[in-house]
Symmetry: C2
């Protein structure tokens, strides 16, 4: 570990992952689960997904302490004998449940051309892109849907019902990293509303409503009994509803407004479900699938879109791998305090 | 056929489908393809999808006359031996290609839990919901993606690249018709821009750009060298890009801006590709999948969303089946003229 400035530490990926792993173990996570969660969280921090990086550690610790999520959960894989695989996460974090079935999912996808993984009773507390990107590194196409916790009002409605319900997608490209996106179906992240409220800023239009379902730009009104809107009006709201169906109804998980953590003070992790659809493009793309994905991305740039989804992440990743992952002194102190 | 008013004819579904079938055959479509296209088009008209109903007949006829689309095409199904099925539509309409593989797709989906159908060299000129709804009638979940013809500018860009690139989804419900949606990833339909231009109306904000990529509300500016925007800003644009990848790169079809119909005067049908993903929810939903879909739809209504996707269609369908499909005298005349 080298110190880039008196206020900032630059950790290598392994150093950060090792520190996070020890924190998870210290707070009741089994060593195998801790390794998975630490790599995931360090990867978010490395790639500039700060809202899902070490920023989340207090939430992980608090949720574990509450008993709401089981850090030692041993996921149970149910092989339905085809291309449809299920995992009961046993009320643990999603990522260990995912890794318990991942190899089987890849095997079945290559065997049948398409595969599905349905995870339930799972707590997803991270970004979604780390789940899909590695499939594309192996030449596969992946889609994932995860519902979360109630904060989004259906279009034209008054009461929040859906979660931020992200969708992620990854597809391999030719001679460059995969095309990957991870987008919340809410118009804005909850965290960004909180920041605006703290700073006394108004939000752009179309982000949220008050408790009567009326549009408001005031973040405090949204946070006090109001709700977020889905992105893109009725269409985004419809996609958020689809994520509830795919992430929860189809997996056997809870809807975003359904789980009850009232007896678990400090719990922050939504207990829902997650769906993966993975496709082997070699069966359909006339042997030039990667080239074609690169081509449509290049055409998008030529049409004038300067930054494609994932571009920024790849730049930050490269910098982090070269210079280390920059951690402020305050954050480093926070992490070390969690080992105490 | 009964006449509801001097100006309007009320045709039964069979009467309308029969008339449309004769029109298709008259213009060079094979009898088996004509039956499929006529049922599809009559179904759109019956359900109030007027922009994809008999309104499209002149476009069908003109495209057939141009030689751009082959009404007699015999689709070639390629069974990759698993859950991934391909069809070469042989430059015919998509729907006959779809029906050529549909039974096999359902069989494989039930066998493996999930199935995929990739159609290429196909002309989709109708709505997308008729393709997915029948799967849900059989208890399956279906997703479909089809790219179309260049009219949408990537987010922040200047030049149009993507098509209106719709996504459709269907899931069975308990004791009620399936939940079905069909949404274009463009902010507005091309036809609605044309209508606004004709009526001299400005559009709402966020629908389109001028030839420099600058936002405009003037429909004439959009139509003269400008472009439509994707719905929902950068997120909708990202989803439109995904539809290009799934609908074209993965199927082996053309991108929306790629096919060349310059030698086919009168051609109106985009020649691209279409992807279906079909899932057997019985493997994952704890035996109560239909109930759960009904439940989240009901919760959406309770949260204050009065109309769910598909509600209007079902009301119009019921009325059409009871009272006949209302066809104006002018439209009826237009249809009869196509038999001449």
């Amino acid at each position: 570990m080298s110190t880039a400035a008196s206020e900032t530490a630059a950790l290598s990926f392994d150093e950060l992952a090792d520190l996070l792993e020890r924190i998870f173990v210290r707070h009741g996570v089994s060593p195998e689960n801790a390794r998975i969660l630490a790599a995931n969280c360090a990867g978010c921090e490395r790639d500039g997904s700060h809202s899902h990086g070490i920023f989340r550690i207090p939430g992980y610790v608090s949720s574990l302490a509450s008993g709401w999520v089981d850090g030692k959960a041993v996921p149970v894989v149910e092989d339905t004998g085809g291309a449809f695989i299920r995992v009961d996460a046993q009320s643990g974090f999603t990522q260990p449940a995912f890794f318990a079935a991942r190899d089987l999912l890849v095997e079945r996808t290559r065997q049948h051309g398409i595969g599905l993984l349905a995870i339930r009773r799972s707590h997803h507390f991270s970004a979604l892109w780390p789940d899909v990107e590695p499939f594309a590194d192996e030449g596969l196409v992946a889609l994932s849907f995860v519902n979360s916790m109630t904060c989004v009002v259906p279009f034209g409605g008054k009461k929040p019902l859906y979660g931020t319900n992200p969708i992620a997608f990854a597809a391999p490209r030719k001679d460059e990293p995969p095309f990957v996106f991870d987008l919340a179906t809410s118009a804005i992240a909850n965290g960004d509303v909180q920041i605006a409220a703290r700073e006394g800023r108004l939000l752009p239009e179309g982000m949220g409503v008050d408790s009567d379902g009326k549009p408001t730009r005031d973040p405090k009104v949204i946070l006090n009994g109001g709700a977020l809107l889905a992105f893109g009006g009725h269409k985004g709201s419809t996609i958020a509803l689809m994520v509830e169906i795919l992430g929860a109804a189809l997996t056997g998980g809870y809807f975003s407004g359904e789980f009850d953590w009232s007896d678990f003070k400090g719990a922050q992790t939504p207990k829902t479900g997650q769906l993966f659809i993975v496709i082997d493009p070699e069966r359909g793309g006339n042997g030039v699938f990667r080239e074609r994905v690169s081509e449509i991305c290049e055409l998008t740039r030529e049409a004038g879109q300067e930054r494609l989804p994932g571009d920024r992440r790849l730049v930050i990743r490269e910098k982090s791998l070269r210079d280390g992952i920059a951690i402020s002194a305050a954050d480093h102190q926070m992490l070390l305090s969690k080992l105490a």
